[in-house]
Each structure stands twice: as C-alpha cells, then as structure tokens.
C-alpha cells in the first residue's frame, strides 16, 4: 500500500475564504486508476492510497483514516466482474458497508465513506467523484472527531 499526499496540510486556510482544507483519503486499486497525484483540486488535502487490489482493504484501515482526521474517505474499485483477483472489489464493497454501519452508529455519519466502481484508467470520472464528495462535505462539515488519537499495539 503506497500513499501519496497530493496537497500536504499547511494548517492554514486556503484561498477560498475562511474554509479550511477538507481532508479526503482516496483508496484505489492501482489496476483501476493511475496515481491520483495528477489531480489539482483546490481546498482539498487529498491522500491517494494505491492498493495492489481493493481486497487488501481492511475495516480498520478505513476507520484509521477517520481517526487520522479524514473528513471523508472514497474507495475506487474496478467494475464488478473485472477484478484481476476475481472478487477483490466485491470484498471491498462488503467491508465498506460494514464500516458505514459503524460510522452511522458512532455518529460520524455513513455518508462520509463511499465506494464507486469505475472503468479502468477513468481519471475524469474519479475527479468528478472527488469533486462531488467535496461539494457534499461542504454541507455536512468536517469530521467531528478529527484529531489523531494514540493507540498502543502489542
């Protein structure tokens, strides 16, 4: 799993008034999409996380993104029936659904986590999805539990 932060957090507001950067984590299968660092989206701190297959995505990874301050998480996977590893995108969908249920129960809101199937290398659609997510986020607001919290693991 590799991560590329497209617009590192400056801790400052962007040029768009007093609205701080919205933090968006995008997990995507690298078979589905190239590196999303080519995108230039103002007002957004975008983390692009490349996965060898979306099946590697675990529930805890999605939750940790929110723990780390993400305002929304988007998972982009191959169309159903065209996963190189047969069912990776279906497994990812099930896991996203489980985490959505948890987020709803926690009170953060299940709409902050989304999954989309898109054609391979369709970066235009990926950009539209990201822009739409950001537009929706402006209505729902920032992650109400944004600060990273320490965890000790044995």
């Amino acid at each position: 799993m590799t991560t590329a932060s497209v617009r590192p957090s400056t801790g400052k507001n962007t040029g768009s008034g007093n609205i701080p950067d919205l933090k968006l984590s995008v997990f995507h299968c690298f078979n589905a999409l190239p590196d999303l660092s080519v995108l230039d989206i103002p007002g957004c701190e975008l983390s692009s996380i490349n996965l060898p297959c979306s099946s590697i995505l675990r529930e805890v990874v999605l939750l940790k993104a929110f723990e780390s301050g993400a305002d929304a998480v988007v998972v982009l996977v191959c169309p159903e029936g065209s996963c190189d590893y047969q069912q990776g995108n279906l497994r990812a969908k099930k896991r996203v659904e489980r985490v959505q249920k948890l987020l709803k129960e926690i009170g953060i809101g299940n709409d902050r986590l989304r999954i989309h199937n898109l054609s391979r290398q369709d970066i235009d659609t990926a950009e539209k999805i990201i822009r739409q997510t950001l537009a929706d986020l402006k209505k729902t607001g920032q992650n109400p539990a944004p600060q990273p919290v320490g965890s000790e693991k044995r």
């Binding site: 675990r58 529930e59 805890v60 939750l63 940790k64 929110f66 723990e67 948890l102 129960e105 926690i106 009170g107 953060i108 109400p144 539990a145 600060q147 919290v149 320490g150 965890s151 000790e152 693991k153 044995r154």
Partner: protein, 222 residues
Amino acid sequence: MIVGEQKPLGEIKTNVSPYHRLLILGCGTCVKTCFAGGEDEVATLASALRLAFKQEGRIMQITEQTIERQCEDEFIREAAPQVARCDAVLSLACGAGVQMVASRFPGVPVLPGVNTTFLGVLEKQGLFTEKCLGCGSCFVHQFAGVCPLSRCAKKLLNGPCGGSRNGKCEVDPETDCAWQLIIDRAKAAGSLDRLVDYIPPKDWRTSYAGGPRKVFREDYVI
C-alpha cells in the same frame, strides 16, 4: 468450534464507558475463525471505540492485544503486563475465555465483548451453523451421523414429526429438516431399517442438568 458474535458497538461502549484505560483482548482461536474476536476484530473495535469516545470529547486509552487462546492460563499470562497498565479488560473471547481471564486477574474488571452462541461449523464463507449441544453423551451414530438434539427444532429422537416440507423444517423454512437428513443418509448407507428402533428419552444428567461439568484426566496430571 465455539461460534460467537461480537456485541453491538453501542452495548460495548456503554459497558466500557466507566473506564479510561482499556485493554481489548482478542482470542486467536475459535472467535477469530468466526470473525468475532481475532486480531482484525480487535483492531476494528478499538478504532471504532476511539472515534466514538472522541465524538463525546473523551480520550479513551485503548491497548490492543490478541493471544492464542483465552481458555488456557499459559497464554493468558502473556497479557499480564498490558493488563497491569489498564483499568479494565474487554475480552473478545467466548464465555469460557472471559471467565478464565477474570480468574487470572482478580482485581481487574473483565467485560465480555462477544455473545457466545453455539458449537458449530463453518458451512461456507460467512455462514456458521450449530451442530452440537455438548450433551456429554454423544449418540449421533444412532441417527446416521446427524444430531437431532442440535439440529431438529423439536429435538425429536424418534422422528420425523410430519411438519417437514420439501426437506425443510416447518419451524424455519431456511433450515434443513434434521430427520430428512437422517433418513437420506441412512438410505445412502443402506441402514434405514435401524431407524425403526425405539430411542428412549435422553438422559440429561450428562448435560447442563447435572450442574457444572468437569473432565479430569488423571493420566495427564503430574
């Protein structure tokens, strides 16, 4: 294996709420296999609880650890240093594991995070079904290898009841009729005639009715 389900997040959150330093202790055997209390479930629950408390402006210090088995003291001892640093343990083991951990650490509250459900098998990915009541006196050979106590809703020893439809139970149409399975297997094995033998009522003294049970293997005690 022992099959369990993780308790709802809300119930767990309420139970751990009085504490500030929590150890979530997973078990790497049965409950790991049924996705209720292994390493992945410990990590997911820890993250979800941290977020949930953060929502309320509270910091819950959560430590995560998964040991091989919570029903054996030699594995539980591995958790002692972590337990010493926490003010409560949330055990994701079966009820046996929870009690074993509580017994090892008398001064520490040990809370259950899993509802222990039954003794069963992995039927297919994500589907676990009950196969054994642990009655203490197995007699499945008299039923062509299918236990009517755990698999027939009416626990009939001299079935079928007559309510079966298309091989399914009238109590739950999603469940196979145990007596249909018994008859089908007996036919296939050429032992259908053995099913005409009357089976007397079960002697439940070997089960829960006889109080807490023990297995003492003197030949293994040193």
